[in-house]
């Protein structure tokens, strides 16, 4: 009998487990359905993309319309005035920020001093991971972030997030007139700072920039002396090369200017691809990241040059580098890599979000301390009323326009070409 009593225990366990199993399977089905419906929503989203886009555009045109009248009316948007926003934001209590850049954390600190009663929480996420995170959250009906600070990923942010209405463009009416194009109306959103990839050299070794044309890097002088961060793992670097491919006529013209003859293609499609191939033939060395490139040319005396982000010049002292970026290269120096601001779709703390974005923009007069982390050496704030810390102004930078759609569609092909060079 004693034995039997003990055997009862497993029996109970069986029951419990069977129950659990049933619940679990039910739950599995439930999850199935849930996912199906989530997917359904997503595809519905894709289907009504046009609508979303239209809505986005509407918002855009609203802002644009606002610009038109914005000069005359500062008070018309009383709802959006700082005081009104602050009052509402205090009720909301906090702002959730997803940011690719630590600059948002710095701005958050000054913001919380300026506007007590609102807590800003910043999550730092890489741009592509942020897309996944927000997409999955929204598909599951969770709307967590309020503010999005992100870089582009070869146009994917615009195609996959902005057009379907997951990230929403926001530019306050009173600030819009002071914003430089393309970031006022043409680009996917307002960008608070613009960086780009360019060629760096060691200022101890060279008195002046050793390169003035991208084709210089394919000459024997630089054989085995050109570094780049791996475009396979950092899409922003690939964007530069993809832009050269989509603007291959510029590259061909620069070739003629450099060598005095028309470019001869060796089995490639155009001058952009030819450039990549010649870089590899000239012993291009690929390193893991931008910092590795600057370590390579900046840590000790070096005649090598390397591709890195313009904003890295501000890390010169901390890292013991003696590097300088080149801001004038033919045919164009680079393609902009902008740090965009968005409101997230269905932001739970919308007033606070708008207030925080305004703060990071430096508010109406661009004097607010929130702008400081963005206005650094090597990055440009595209506002006409902001004094840049660089020797060269944003308008006089010779950059290719960022064509998100063209990049989005051309990037995989250029990536394939790059992989095949290995």
């Amino acid at each position: 009998m004693l034995n039997r009593l003990h055997q009862n225990k497993p029996a109970k366990t069986v029951l419990a487990l069977a129950a659990a199993a049933m619940i679990m399977t039910a739950c599995g089905q439930n999850a199935d359905n849930g996912n199906a419906s989530a997917n359904g929503e997503a595809s519905a989203n894709a289907g009504t993309n046009a609508n979303g886009q239209a809505a986005g555009n509407e918002a855009g045109t609203n802002a644009a319309a606002g610009n038109g009248s914005g000069n005359t009316t500062g008070a018309s948007a009383s709802e959006e005035s700082v005081d009104a926003l602050y009052a509402k934001a205090k009720e909301e209590g906090k702002v959730i920020v997803y940011s690719t850049s630590g600059r948002a954390n710095d701005a958050a600190e000054t913001f919380m001093k300026q506007y007590p009663g609102i807590k800003v929480e910043v999550s730092k996420v890489k741009s592509d991971e942020m897309m996944d995170k927000v997409m999955k959250e929204q598909d599951a009906g969770q709307f967590n972030p309020d503010v999005i600070v992100t870089k582009e990923v070869s146009g994917a942010v615009e195609e996959e997030m902005v057009k379907p209405g997951r990230y929403i463009k926001y530019l306050p009416e009173d600030i819009a007139p002071k914003v430089d194009e393309p970031y006022r109306t043409q680009a996917e959103a307002y960008a608070n700072y613009v960086e780009f990839r360019t060629i760096f050299y060691n200022a101890k070794h060279y008195e002046k920039a050793p390169v003035s044309n991208w084709w210089d890097l394919t000459t024997p002088e630089f054989k085995g002396k050109v570094y780049t961060a791996d475009p396979l793992s950092s899409p922003a670097f690939m964007d530069l090369f993809t832009t050269m491919v989509t603007n291959s006529d510029d590259m061909a013209a620069a070739y003629k200017e450099k060598f005095g003859k028309d470019i001869e293609l060796h089995g490639t499609e155009n001058a952009g691809y030819e450039y990549i191939q010649e870089l590899f033939d000239n012993g291009l060395i690929v390193l893991k990241g931008s910092d590795d490139v600057l370590d390579a040319i900046g840590k000790a005396d070096s005649e090598a040059v390397g591709l890195a982000v313009s904003g890295d010049v501000s890390k010169n002292e901390e890292n013991g580098w003696t590097i300088q970026p080149i801001y004038d290269i033919k045919p164009k120096t680079a393609v902009p890599d902008a740090g965009y601001f968005f409101l997230a779709n269905k932001a739970p703390h919308e007033a606070g979000a708008k207030l925080f974005i305004r703060w990071m923009m430096g508010e109406t007069d661009a004097k607010g301390a929130g702008l400081d982390p963005f206005n650094e050496v090597g990055s440009w704030v595209p506002r006409s009323d902001v004094q840049t810390k660089n020797d060269i102004s944003f308008e006089s930078l010779n950059l290719w326009p960022f064509d998100g759609e063209a990049l989005y569609n051309a990037a995989p092909k250029v990536r394939d070409f790059w992989i095949k060079q290995k």
Binding site: L2, R4, H6, N8, K9, P10, T13, L17, A21, I23, C27, G28, N30, A31, G34, N35, A38, A46, I96, G102, D106, E121, S123, K124, V125, K126, D128, E129, D132, K133, K136, E137, A140, Q142, N144, V153, E160, D230, L232, S233, S234, P235, M238, I285, V286, L287, K288, D291, D295, A296, I297, K299, E318, N319, G320, Y408, P412, R415, D416, I419
Partner: protein, 608 residues
């Protein structure tokens, strides 16, 4: 109930069979485990697999044929049989396989060698050696590769020349500086601790009467090693082998740093690239190929172990243990072992520590000493006013979260590991055991980012009795437990294989329920293993970044997400400070585990 109380002899045979099945804990736990794994692992993998056959909107970038939502084989053809395949798949695949196999062999040599010295010989400094053995795993793997570059790099990647090059005035050849060789060495040093712990536990539970008997019968020491020791620890070794193999082929940081300068790509680095370039489906295909390869490896493993009847070394009988005398080799070997380990373990650690106290990196003078990065206030001249790490407003929160996640996840992972290991070991001849074994192995091969992304969609909404876990610590703990399953289940089953069933049977006859048996017999006998599992999962969780970066919300920030922030800003010393804090915590936990968990690997099981 009436049926249960009926005399056994009157029960029909089929009922007996069913009742026996149901009462058998292997089936019970096995069923529960399979349910758990289905939901947490298999279901996500199936979703990944399914996605590779469906066009997505993204694919219109690749080809005009793309028709979103419809079936296609395009992705598989692109990876396996197109003009891209060689560069995109086959070459990286060969590199992955070569690295995986070599790392496994090398870590086996290092790990088993050390384990044997520490558990079976009379070598002095045992405690020191086993303590040092864990340290390389405390460091992030990329630190070891960085250290390698500091010594061996040549002019190719510029910067300050490597130490050997400046001393010897000879340029190191590329093959020694970058690519295959350093990747294999860094990974082996980092991961050999798994072998050390798994095989060490197996060796220390082995009854040395077996060796003595052979010795008496006139077998030479080599014969004993080959014919007795090896077969007994073979399951542990094979487990370790597969574990290290999958860890190596899925590692990213080390091959990225050491491989790119010489265009040495592995599937893992290609996969990362696809992911970052928003070619998600391509990434999914690549990770599925890794999964298929490992499943093949596990199948082979099963064939190897399945043929043998038993590896029982822990029986009810007393087990005396005599140690192999090393004789005159004793001290040279001890010195060599501890010096070698100090080189790879302590030196990088000290360099890191020193750097966290240096105002300017690389300037070795007393005036350059500062505690600013630890607890200094804001100073506009340093890091544009960034405060010391411990002054960071979220430091306390991050520390608390890290400890909670790592602590709870490590305990849960150890218990789950033993329970599932039990199923795998006892049910290794049934489909249930094999299914659990196979499924528990997948998490290493699902890229952390993909798994996390799927968990957002699975856990963002409440599903039946499970609340919405997204945004809570529970989900972070859960995913950590799942991600470490390959190790915990392997370690659990390897040690269960050694525990004879007669101990359990004896208890069962005296009426102990399975839970009692588990608690009173299996857990104590597995104690050392439990503590090893706890320790490694704890370390892994403290270091984990990729897995949780998608799942953290501001409330669930951890120490590693803090380092992510610092690293992006280029604040190297601050990153090092956090790293040192993590390492201190882990060492303290390790010391506590040794002291209170009596998990000293130099003592045999039941030797307290």
């Amino acid at each position: 109930m009436a049926k249960v109380t009926a005399p056994i002899s009157q029960r029909p045979r089929w009922q007996n069979i069913i009742l026996n099945r149901l009462r058998n804990p292997v089936h019970l736990i096995g069923a529960a485990a399979l349910l758990f794994l289905s939901y947490m692992v298999i279901w996500p993998v199936l979703r990944i697999a399914w996605s590779t056959f469906i066009w997505r909107r993204q694919d219109m970038r690749l080809t005009g044929e793309a028709d979103p939502g419809h079936f296609t084989l395009y992705h598989w053809i692109r990876v396996l049989a197109s003009d891209m395949s060689y560069s995109l798949f086959y070459k990286p695949l060969l590199n992955s396989l070569a690295v995986g196999a070599t790392v496994s062999v090398l870590s086996m040599a290092i790990g088993c060698g050390l384990a044997w010295l520490v558990t079976r010989t009379d070598i002095p400094l045992k405690r020191t050696i086993s303590f040092l053995a864990v340290i390389p795993y405390l460091l992030p793997a990329w630190i070891l590769s960085q250290a390698w570059l500091t010594f061996f790099k040549n002019g190719k990647i510029g910067g300050t020349p490597g130490i050997l090059q400046s001393l010897l005035h000879v340029s190191m050849p590329d093959w020694l500086s970058y690519g295959f060789v350093p990747i294999v060495i860094s990974l082996s040093i980092h991961d050999s601790v798994f072998f050390f712990l798994i095989v060490g536990a197996a060796l220390s539970s082995m009854n040395s009467q077996l060796e003595e008997a052979a010795s008496v019968a006139g077998a030479s020491r080599l014969t004993i090693l080959r014919r007795i020791v090896m077969p007994l620890v073979l399951p542990s070794i094979l487990s370790g082998f597969i574990l290290i193999f999958t860890k190596a082929i899925s590692s990213y940081g080390v091959p990225a740093l050491l491989g790119t300068p010489v265009n040495f790509y592995m599937i893992s680095t290609m996969l990362y690239s696809s992911m970052r370039s928003r070619l998600t489906t391509e990434a999914n295909v690549l990770s599925l190929t890794l999964m298929l390869i490992s499943m093949l490896a596990i199948y082979v493993n099963h064939r190897a172990i399945g043929r043998r009847k038993s590896f029982v070394t822990v029986t009810g009988k007393g087990s005396a243990r005599t140690l192999t005398p090393l004789g005159s080799w004793k001290y040279p070997v001890a010195t060599l072992a501890s010096l070698g380990m100090a080189m790879v373990a302590v030196v990088p650690l000290l360099v890191l520590l020193a750097q966290s106290f240096m105002l300017k990196e690389g300037t070795y003078s007393l005036s350059n000493f500062t505690t600013h990065y630890w607890w200094g206030g804001s100073d506009p001249a340093i890091n544009t006013g960034e405060k010391g790490a411990m002054q960071n407003p979220i430091f306390t929160l991050a520390l608390k979260n890290s400890l909670a996640i790592a602590g709870i996840a490590a305990i849960a992972a150890a218990v789950v590991g033993v329970a599932l290991g039990y199923v795998v070991a006892r049910g290794r001849l049934s489909w249930l055991g094999r299914a659990v074994d196979q499924a528990s192995f997948l998490p290493y091969l699902i890229p952390g980012i993909s798994l996390a992304a799927l968990y957002i969609s699975i856990f963002a909404k409440p599903t039946f009795f499970l609340p919405a876990l997204y945004g809570t610590m529970t989900l972070l703990i859960l995913i950590t437990v799942v991600k470490e399953l390959p190790f915990t289940v392997k370690a659990g089953s390897a040690s269960m294989l050694q525990i004879g069933t007669e101990l359990e049977e004896a208890a069962q006859i005296s009426g102990a329920s399975w839970l009692t048996r588990f608690r009173r017999i299996l857990l104590p006998l597995n104690r050392k293993n439990l503590v090893s599992m706890f320790l490694l999962v704890f370390i892994g969780a403290m270091k984990e970044m990729e897995l949780i970066i998608l799942l953290v919300t501001p409330r669930t920030e951890t120490l590693t997400t803090l380092t992510f922030y610092y690293a992006e800003k280029g604040y190297e010393q601050l990153t090092n400070v956090i790293l040192m804090i993590i390492i201190f915590i882990v060492m303290a936990v390790y010391a506590a585990a040794v002291k209170f968990g009596k998990a000293d690997l130099t003592q045999g099981i039941g030797g307290q």
